[in-house]
């Protein structure tokens, strides 16, 4: 028995939790370069956690009395979240040093938030799900407000906190209704209880709607998206990068599991909600982004639009849908990592860039960078031959498999609208004449360069060897 006790540290979540505390102490006792060293340690910890997730098997302590679940889908999304987290820590390191924000707490906050996300993805119980969401969100509230002397950062932190708390309240209310009417918090038990009935009673429908509202807030689906542009804009760029890359992965996995595990037999009830969220997100994301002049707000609306496409795959609710989501989430993460790796290294007159018009003339002063941005933008717009196209393609395959013709046509129409603002960025870089050449500086550290080149490589070369990712995602089960 004693041998087995130590095995507990090989459970990825426990390992990550303990290591996060170690990181915190490590940073606390370091006199010099605390931020840099803690970041490096955090990356190492996350890498080890990926290994543990990869070799994790179900026999490890039977998932704490079914508080958590274990499946290939969960593992895939955990690894995705961890990879996103590693990438965003690496690409943001120089930015933090550049704006002299050297709190070593930041990587630790990222670690805790990532831990929360892993638990979110795996949770199989309403209570553990709620706690995981809170762990994830609380770390992010602090991270958004980390630049204490900046009004906009504090504002975005408070805004995020208030709206987040509100949504958590609604979520909790929904949980209590579901618990009250089914008598259980466990996903499997709820599913078993509900399988006896043909339709949901009024209390459960209310519960379901409330939970959907809370989850829609977490994935920032329209009409619960209001916080996204403001928080993206106010928070320091690197924190925005983290927001854009990682939490969406966990929230999407969670909304999938919540819809498809306890409520899988009540497709009609939840699919109507998701259908509306999906269409609204795609169109609002596409239309609202057109008018933006701040690149972070633009990316916020772009991420809202992407969520719309992912929700199409959820409405499809078949194996192709799961495959489509994992491919889409992978491409979404890669594209966001790439674009933020660039944005965090661009300086205009020694200030970090935030206005789209600042990109003017970039194609002259920095042809490689502007070419990369163009490729990322075209990929986000879903133009072949880049990876973004295949994400959308699989989503539409899933939708048509389930005969959602109208939804797919609406989806492609929204993608045409959104192509406009992606193209606008290319237009600003290439077509507009600029008088102010050479003001833009591109300085990138060696590590971020590796991350950037790797993600660009994946964006461009996915088409040559798609089978690897597709085989993995085809084998996922929820």
């Amino acid at each position: 028995m004693l041998n087995n006790i130590y095995n507990i540290f090989f459970i990825p979540e426990i390992f990550l939790a303990c290591s996060s505390f170690v990181c915190l102490l490590f940073g606390l006792f370091l006199k010099k370069n605390a931020f840099r060293q803690t970041s490096n340690l955090a990356v190492l910890v996350l890498l080890l956690t990926i290994l543990l997730v990869y070799y994790d098997n179900e026999s490890n302590f039977a998932n704490y009395k079914s508080l958590f679940s274990h499946s290939s889908f969960i593992n895939f999304f955990k690894i995705l979240a961890l990879l996103g987290s590693i990438a965003s820590i690496i690409i943001s390191k120089d930015y933090f040093l550049g704006i002299k924000l050297k709190n070593f707490e930041i990587p630790v906050l990222f670690l805790f938030s990532t831990l929360g996300m892993m638990l979110m993805i795996a949770s199989n119980n309403l209570m553990s799900m709620y706690l995981a969401i809170e762990l994830q969100s609380l770390s992010l509230y602090v991270a958004a407000a980390i630049k204490r002397d900046s009004i906009s950062s504090a504002e975005s932190g408070v805004k995020y906190f208030i709206l987040g708390a509100l949504s958590s309240g609604i979520l909790l209310y929904g949980f209590s209704l579901i618990y009250g009417f089914t008598g259980s918090m466990n996903f499997d038990d709820i599913s078993f209880y509900l399988s006896k009935y043909d339709n949901l009673n009024l209390g459960l429908i209310f519960g379901l709607v409330f939970v959907m509202v809370g989850l829609a807030f977490k994935v920032s689906a329209v009409p619960f998206h209001m916080w996204t542009p403001d928080v993206y804009e106010g928070a320091p760029n690197s924190i925005t990068g983290f927001f854009a890359i990682v939490p969406k992965i966990a929230a999407v996995a969670l909304i999938y599991r919540f819809c498809l595990v306890p409520f899988e037999n009540f497709y009609l009830e939840w699919s109507q909600i998701i259908l509306f969220l999906s269409i609204a997100s795609m169109f609002l994301g596409a239309i609202a982004a057109i008018a933006q002049s701040n690149i972070k707000r633009l990316l916020a609306y772009s991420s809202i639009g992407h969520i719309g496409y992912i929700l199409i795959a959820l409405v499809a609710a078949n194996d192709d849908g799961i495959k489509a989501t994992s491919i889409y989430m992978f491409s979404y993460m890669i594209m966001n990592v790439a674009i933020f790796a660039i944005l965090l290294s661009l300086k205009v007159k020694n200030e970090y860039l935030f206005k789209i018009s600042d990109l003017k003339g970039l194609s002259k002063s920095n042809p490689i960078v502007s070419l990369s941005i163009s490729i990322i933008m075209l990929s986000m717009a879903g133009i072949p031959p880049f990876i973004g196209f295949f994400g959308k393609f699989y989503v539409f395959i899933a939708a048509i498999e389930n005969e959602l013709y109208v939804l797919s046509v609406l989806g492609v129409l929204a993608s045409v609208i959104s192509a406009f603002y992606y193209l606008r960025i290319i237009k600003i870089m290439y077509f507009d004449e600029s008088k102010s050449e050479g003001i833009i500086n591109f300085q990138i550290s060696f590590q971020s360069k590796i991350i950037l080149s790797l993600s660009l490589f994946l964006i461009i070369c996915f088409i040559f060897y798609p089978s690897l990712l597709i085989n993995i995602s085809a084998s996922l089960s929820i």
Binding site: V412, L413, V416, S467, I470
Partner: protein, 494 residues
């Protein structure tokens, strides 16, 4: 036969050239190296594509030089390329025009030579790839990827309103092609196949066919373009640099016609039968209306752009006649238009490079100073009008012969358009070339130089060759077209 992957080499040779150019550092001196590299890559591609023609088996109606590799593990998508009689000349047209475009841009593109050449080489790869693909998804990827280089070419090196034109071009054509994506997925769902070869049959229920047909129509009608979806074309043509207009008129418009033959006729025969009256009406309106509009233009490029819409109207009539003469005529008209309109845009480019204006008013009496120019311009002008002995005649004649089997109203409409085309082209020629020089700025304009001769003379030769020996081109495509017609008739006979 050839035992090495000839088609893939032709598709990807320009891309390899582009990769090499990517590593040449651009400055004043090395930009000449970039141009030479681009020219050699495109010339090499052209020479290789001639092998396709020389080794082509005329007695085989289906695909030749096939290459097939599994591409996606989970679906039946293949990297599947090959050439048949229909795509052979489309590929040749692309490989023939691209080196000419590179030559035409030799001196007048001064900024960002590297990006320019990269765009053109990438464009060539996707154009050839599109015509050579036998897998629909592959076709679609190439079909949409064309937008990227074209958007850049119009937007960076275009005229004053280039930004408006490039956005209009991109979004208009994207809107059409995304609907095609949905149609492709629906087709796959019904048949579990993405092979164009396999789907050339009648596999869909009547109602499904109608919807699929409309989705394909949305994308090809914008591309070809048919009235009333043509409004992007004059803007794109006028604002694009000369070489951009050449590719746009010479090849991109043919993607629409090619798509109609392969997809609408080949895969959705019953729906095609249903929609033929619509197409005929739109085509005749297009021919007459755009010819009249062309007559009123003051910008040379815009005039030629509208004439393209009218000529493409003849092509759509020919395609949807679905008989041997009609289809052969449509194919000939596409090849001829590819050469003639490309050449006309190059001719406009010649005087635009010298005077930097395209206003018809500005010119007049060019024959006094530029006799060689006047001669080649005349050949292309007559090709566009459809004078016997030029390539334009064969296509128009065959389409009209085919149309008599269908309806004499269509013949009247088409013939009226042809007369109008003579009117606006001759009127244009008279205003630019004939007369005495009234504008002082034109008194020391120079005649075409050697580089321009190298560009224009091959085009002039091929226009005449096509007009005198049409069988050289018709023989290889005949069986492939017959196959499509037979399938079509079997499907509609039941």
């Amino acid at each position: 036969m050839i035992d090495w992957p000839l088609v893939s080499v032709i598709i990807f040779l320009p891309l390899i050239g582009a990769l090499i150019i990517l590593f040449i550092k651009e400055d004043e001196i090395t930009s000449i190296n970039i141009k030479w590299a681009a020219l050699l890559a495109t010339l090499g591609t052209f020479i290789l594509s001639l092998i396709l023609w020389l080794q082509f088996d005329y007695s085989n109606p289906s695909y030749q030089y096939e290459e097939k590799f599994r591409w996606f593990d989970d679906f039946n998508f293949f990297y599947h390329v090959g050439v048949d009689g229909i795509s052979l000349f489309m590929i040749l047209l692309s490989t023939f025009l691209t080196p000419l475009c590179i030559l035409a841009s030799w001196n007048n593109i001064k900024k960002r030579v590297k990006e320019y050449m990269l765009s053109f080489l990438f464009l060539e790869t996707v154009m050839i790839g599109m015509f050579a693909s036998i897998d629909i998804l592959l076709f679609y990827i190439f079909f949409e990827a064309v937008l990227i280089p074209m958007y850049l070419i119009i937007g960076i090196w275009g005229g004053n309103r280039r930004i408006y034109a490039s956005f209009k071009f991109f979004l208009y054509t994207l809107l059409g092609s995304v609907l095609m994506l949905i149609a492709i997925i629906v087709m796959y769902r019904n048949t579990s196949s993405m092979s164009i070869e396999f789907l050339q049959g009648n596999y869909f229920s009547y109602n499904t066919q109608l919807f699929l047909w409309l989705a394909f129509f949305a994308s090809f009608a914008v591309k070809i373009p048919m009235w009333p979806f043509h409004t992007w074309l004059p803007d794109a043509h006028v604002e694009a640099p000369t070489a951009g207009s050449v590719i746009l008129a010479g090849i991109l418009l043919k993607m629409g016609g090619y798509g109609f033959i392969r997809f609408s006729l080949g895969m959705l025969p019953e729906a095609t039968e249903f929609f033929i009256p619509l197409i005929m009406t739109l085509s005749i309106v297009a021919i007459v209306y755009t010819s009249l509009v062309a007559l009123a233009q003051t910008d040379i490029k815009k005039l030629i752009a509208y004439s393209s819409v009218a000529h493409m109207g003849i092509v759509t009539i020919g395609i949807f006649l679905v008989n041997q003469q009609g289809l052969e005529g449509a194919m000939m008209q596409m090849i001829s238009h590819g050469l003639v309109s490309a050449a006309l845009f190059l001719c406009v480019g010649v005087i635009y490079d010298r005077m930097h204006t395209r206003e018809i008013e500005f010119y007049g009496g060019l024959v006094q100073r530029m006799p060689h120019y006047a001669t080649v311009f005349m050949i292309f002008m007559l090709g566009s009008v459809g004078l016997p002995g030029t390539s334009g005649f064969i296509g128009e004649f065959l389409v009209i012969v085919g149309a008599f089997k269908f309806s004499s109203y269509v013949v009247i409409g088409a013939a009226f358009g042809i007369i109008l085309s003579a009117v606006y082209m001759l009127y244009l020629y008279k205003r630019i070339i004939f007369g005495t020089i009234t504008n002082n700025k034109l008194t020391d304009i120079l005649d075409i130089n050697t580089r321009e001769k190298i560009i224009l003379i091959p085009l002039a030769i091929s226009v005449i060759l096509l007009g005198i020996f049409p069988n050289l081109f018709l023989d290889p495509m005949r069986l492939s077209l017959e196959l499509i017609i037979t399938n079509y008739e079997i499907a509609n006979a039941k």
